[in-house]
């Protein structure tokens, strides 16, 4: 069992956006710098707070995409059309702007090299974000844990970190399997449906390897994948899930 460390109560700190990067038509990464960032672990998230001129505040949680090995903190945000927070973060905020952040948060949906591998990661949509931190952490530490990722996206254009994942697959042996649920690129012969038990039975690392499994995505995907893996005989105690709600988590 991992031990918790005393963090002190969480308080808000002001960071600065130093760079933005469009990941897809709906998702953007914000690179943040803080004068006093305490460091984070792969899989953790932050809360971001926006305050309107009339004092109204809205708080949403976003996963950290960057590994603990980076000095800067990157979050990737997907725009929800009727969201209170994400449209501002995706469409309005610019390099140089301040941002109020609380974190890092969470010790449960976390991977570090001491936990070992192999890792089977399942991501749906922006659920790839905390998994990316885990992948990059493993690569940055030159750890030899095998990683296989099953990534469900609406289409090729909706794949976040597409170029990075290609590079990681080539250079670092990260195995990536995609399923495109709404539209597929020409000539696509891979999966083109939502993740189901049959798919998991085909792509999950073998039970005998006792993989550590991290699943992140919208609630139906996360719970469906988790239930499917348990039905296939994977150990519930080695499955960790993080659900995304309609308000951005």
């Amino acid at each position: 069992m991992e031990r918790t460390t005393v963090l002190g109560r969480l308080t808000w700190r002001v960071g600065q956006v130093v760079k933005t990067k469009a990941e897809t038509a709906r998702a953007k990464s914000l690179v943040l710098e803080f004068p006093d960032w305490p460091g984070h672990r792969a899989g953790q998230h932050v809360d971001i707070r926006l305050t309107a001129e009339d004092g109204y505040q809205a708080v949403r949680s976003y996963s950290i995409a960057s590994p603990p090995d980076d000095r800067q903190v990157t979050v990737t945000i997907e725009r929800l059309e009727y969201g209170e927070v994400s449209p501002y973060l995706v469409d309005e905020i610019q390099a140089g702007d301040p941002l109020e952040v609380r974190g890092p948060i969470g010790g449960y949906f976390v991977w570090e090299t001491a936990l070992g591998g192999p890792l089977f990661l399942v991501g749906g949509g922006s659920g790839i974000v905390p998994l990316m931190a885990m992948i990059q952490h493993r690569v940055a530490r030159a750890n030899d844990a095998r990683i296989r990722l099953l990534y469900s996206a609406r289409s090729l254009e909706d794949v976040i970190y597409r170029t990075e994942l290609e590079g990681l697959a080539k250079r670092s042996g990260i195995e990536v399997i995609y399923t495109y649920t709404r539209s597929q690129p020409p000539g696509w012969t891979g999966y083109q449906r939502r993740i189901d038990q049959a798919m998991l039975g085909e792509v999950a690392l073998a039970r005998e390897e006792h993989p550590l499994i991290y699943i992140c995505g919208p609630t139906p995907l996360a719970e469906g994948a988790s239930n499917g893996l348990v039905a296939l005989g994977y150990e519930p105690a080695r499955i960790r899930i993080e659900r995304f709600g309609p308000s951005g988590r």
Partner: protein
């Protein structure tokens, strides 16, 4: 929207509980008074859009912990939980029993 889609997990309450407790509460174990299952809060199911925040047992659905912030106070109702177990910070010379 149905309750199935609104269901989150204990990872989502790390921020709010972190305002109250000086420890990472997603790794705190909580015992259900209904079915006696013990799980870390991070694994339990959570509803954020009820009045307040509601943590339910992932196994039996029993309400374990409700947190409401209002009138200048935090209110924690936890009649559905037998206990909460948090890893104590280790200090020199202390035995390090961690419950496992």
């Amino acid at each position: 929207m149905g309750s199935d889609e609104r269901r989150l997990d204990g990872n989502a309450v790390g921020g709010l509980l972190g305002e109250i407790f000086p420890l990472d509460m997603t790794m705190a174990n909580i015992r259900c008074a209904g079915c006696n299952a013990v799980e870390p809060i991070g694994a339990e199911t959570v509803y954020m859009d009820a009045p307040g925040m509601v943590i339910r047992c992932m196994h039996c659905g029993n309400v374990l912990l409700t947190v409401v912030r209002g009138e200048g106070h935090y209110w924690l109702e936890m009649r559905g939980a037998t206990w909460l177990q948090m890893a104590a910070p280790s200090s020199p010379g202390e035995s390090t029993y961690d419950g496992t």
